[in-house]
Symmetry: C2
Amino acid sequence: MGKRNLYLSNTPVDEALSLYMAALQGKIVPGSEIIPVTEALDRITKSAVYAKYCSPLYNAAAMDGIMVIASHTNGASEKKPVELQPDQDYKIVDTGDPIIPPYDAVIMAEDLIESSDGKLRVLASSSPWEHVRPIGEDIVAGEMILPSNHLIRPIDIGVLLSAGILQLEVIKKPRVAIFPTGTEIIEPTEIPKKGDIIESNSRMFENMVTVKGGAAFRFPPIADNYAKIKEKVAAAAKEYDLVIINAGSSAGTEDFTVHVLRELGAVIIHGVAIKPGKPVILALVNDKPVIGLPGYPVSAYIGFQNFVLPVLRLYLDQKASEQETGIEAVISKRIVSSLKYKEYIHVKVGSVGDKIVAAPLARGAGAAMSLVRADGFCVIGQNSEGVEAGEKVRVELYRSLEEIRNTLVIIGSHDLIIDVIADMMPNHYKNMYVSSTHVGSMGGLMALKRGEAHLAPIHLLDEKTGAYNTAYVQQMFGDQVAIIRGVGRVQGFIVKKGNPLDIHTIKDIRKSRYVNRQRGAGTRILFDFMLKQAHMDAAEINGYTNEMTTHMAVAALVQSESADAGLGIQSAAKAMGLDFVPVGLEEYDFAVPKKYLKLDRVKAFLHILKSEAFKEKLTALGGYTSDHLGEIITF
Amino acid sequence: MGKRNLYLSNTPVDEALSLYMAALQGKIVPGSEIIPVTEALDRITKSAVYAKYCSPLYNAAAMDGIMVIASHTNGASEKKPVELQPDQDYKIVDTGDPIIPPYDAVIMAEDLIESSDGKLRVLASSSPWEHVRPIGEDIVAGEMILPSNHLIRPIDIGVLLSAGILQLEVIKKPRVAIFPTGTEIIEPTEIPKKGDIIESNSRMFENMVTVKGGAAFRFPPIADNYAKIKEKVAAAAKEYDLVIINAGSSAGTEDFTVHVLRELGAVIIHGVAIKPGKPVILALVNDKPVIGLPGYPVSAYIGFQNFVLPVLRLYLDQKASEQETGIEAVISKRIVSSLKYKEYIHVKVGSVGDKIVAAPLARGAGAAMSLVRADGFCVIGQNSEGVEAGEKVRVELYRSLEEIRNTLVIIGSHDLIIDVIADMMPNHYKNMYVSSTHVGSMGGLMALKRGEAHLAPIHLLDEKTGAYNTAYVQQMFGDQVAIIRGVGRVQGFIVKKGNPLDIHTIKDIRKSRYVNRQRGAGTRILFDFMLKQAHMDAAEINGYTNEMTTHMAVAALVQSESADAGLGIQSAAKAMGLDFVPVGLEEYDFAVPKKYLKLDRVKAFLHILKSEAFKEKLTALGGYTSDHLGEIITF
């Protein structure tokens, strides 16, 4: 079996972090540097900053007008104006001009009367210092302008310069070295071969470090070679403030990282009770923090948030917020969680009726798209076995609540047109968004039932009548839910280019390795219906239990030659350069509770559906009919 | 009077903006450019991005273990383990390794039994695809990864690279030219002479543009010269997307901007009903937006927010949030506002008891420090005459509500030690802050009375007993408010270096130009007490009505030779390099409602007050005694 370290520890997250923080105690000292004020945006002051100059620098005119000697205007009134002599009683000033003794007040231009001979008269007496900004009114030399530990904003830069400050002491950006490792890793610029993994985590880390105020240094991938890894890490721990090693942190045959770190320094933690993200290494080399993060993107992301961020904060002299943040949402699906782990569940969040609903996304450690799609996440504590559907959870949001309130929540069957509409929405209707979750047609109707979606895209064949959608909706909802008619969609077998197995009917599927759709999907119902009509049994189909959740995933499996055939839509076959054997036209419609038809989001959706721009996109995709687009059927 | 354009219009803000937006209609088209994904952080997608590759790229092991042919494990059980032959029944795989036919499943290392002869046995049968991540499980080639108009985050960069995307189309950053103008303007690097104004607005704009996603190009100051300004603006309107001209936008003798813009193009608006910020110019030159902003920093800032930002958003294809944001707060002081203007009031915000309290800051257009100190702002509509103290206002926050909840609100008399403590708080107690507003001692006690402050620093002389503070507090609050003893503070006359007017007693003040403190200030009460004891009258004092609100401001006026003497504290004289004639020691203490003594913020304040570090700072400042620091007097 080769050399493995099967035994990762399963230290609870908080314990792992406090052990590591204790080990780092006194070893991390925030650095400082002097930089020009003009380059100080988003930096943090190391020490308080005191004004060098006053602002204004001198007594200055606060208005456009004339500066006068106030006593010379004594007794002026509407009835008895006082005439003023230039250069004796007054001088013209613009706002900001200095007031020079013996002048001691300003009269606004609007309050002057200019006679035809150019002489000026005033109708009211002026008091000393009137309309004068005294020296230091805004900033007094010696006054504290910014405290220490202050994040510098554009306005601060303006005021610092006004106060004569050209340079200031800020906290140094921690320098973070990032090492991707792995023999199977290739740079994104290379063409991948089978077994290659495109290296992308380091680029994510690089930008996460930047966002948090550090300076990231990303190195080219290192192969799984003990000596090479050791050499690079030893050098980096001298030169950088923090070292991240990506992957090789688990206990596989080629996971050298932990051995290297044990040789070079001390491994404080190897394995944390977190999911995804268990194989984390927290170590010290040359008194510098060295963190090994797992290779799966979601694990890598969660590991970074939980362990790299606190170390960056130490360097930046910041403390994590201790406030409970986030919003309360109703979870739309049961989540089973292990007592062994603190688990991070990424969710889509929608505002439907009076509920804020969180729908769990794919939970795999490799599901990077779940992070892209996520509106936020919730945490299931290590001592919890999970939550039931309908229970309240606290969700940390990645998007603003405002955006979420303007989002049309679509849950149901997947089709490429949903992505197209999701893209068109915010471009045609500013501040309106689409969130879509793919759970199949029945799943969509169940979500409507639970009040968790605005629209459910469905293509449900009524086996009795052979008609689509209406029977299901009417039976489940009576007259409460309407149908917005969508597209006619050609369903057929997605097969390899040239159809080498010569598949034409469902009987031919017996000779293939099939890839199926998940239970509840309209395509699955159609397939089961076809089996029944052909008097065939599921057991005859090799791969019947091999379930994918989207048309594209089915097509991808055929394209990679992991399967020979799958039932799906033409656009998926077309996108993957595969052949397509049509077996029928189905109706892909949208079920919508009647009460939501008046929502702006639903109206915007309808407008897009009926638009010429959308029809053009349908034609480009191919495999759709659009005769009834946007028609509404009520019961 | 020279050439003036006295007549700015007073167009309401919304009307001005919509007239300008109408004039820009069709002239602003968001640009796009293709950039490397690795440089795409914080950019906005111009078009939707579709995956080029699947992820995983192939069927991959989801676990460390062995890949097997599932059918070869049929019938395995604890009682009847199945033995597997290497390279025939299985191959060792690490997570991520490709699954190569005929292998079709993975068994985890943990579920294997290795016999002493190196043979492997399994205790349970495996099903096809178990522990295999099928190709495209996370991302399917052709799938939409990011919609258009999406702000790119670190995680997006990771996923784009995984999906084979190396470059993408993003919205081009609008290029913004910034021209400071004015003959009196100098660069911050120059030594200012009387009449000079340090140019700082352009640096604030530069950074505001950067923060909002534009590319800023700041030019050196141009003198008030019609031909020069015309030449520069004409050239910039060809090369840049947006031109900002700072100052010269009003109607003074040297305000050329509006004339230049009328000659070069069209001036849509000159003068907006906003305060501060009225002299705004909204123009078009060469079909490009050219905006003239006023020179006062607060006006400049508010003009930028109201008029430059909407233009930047057009270029970036973004829409302003329409949601009502901000929090509700109780205003602590009456605000009188003109029906002529929409007025922006910057405020300090504190959480005191069960109230969120907003205290208005200095309202002058030149009060740049009010922006630095502000926790947020509220808007008094053009049709409102203002709000009464205690009324509710909506405050847009610059800081997080969490920070505000952790802030000790100090309102009362000013002393340098307040700044010192404000700086020490967040450094000694993470996430605890001090907000201080200077309204004099009596103003501080009134704020306590209204429940708007936690602490009131006071130095109030009881004219009957000659004792400080206790009499006032007891009379106003009975036993509800305690006193935390602060410092003994030497008060005296701040005079010019060398004391040229030979000032020693209050009688000598008659020969000086005096600078006074505002009514309610402890120093003012002391001065009035001294006058009374000397049987003198306020009318005898030249400058009695010349009121400043801080010790430092008094010292600044003496230093600039605008006044000869003022009563104040030694540290202010020392900070400004002035001489100081002591006239007595006063007690500067902190009144605190007893119920707040148990607050963490107040406890932290007390700890700092008693710390050695603080005493060292007192000694460095000079002029303080510290015999009773932190003692608590209750009644």
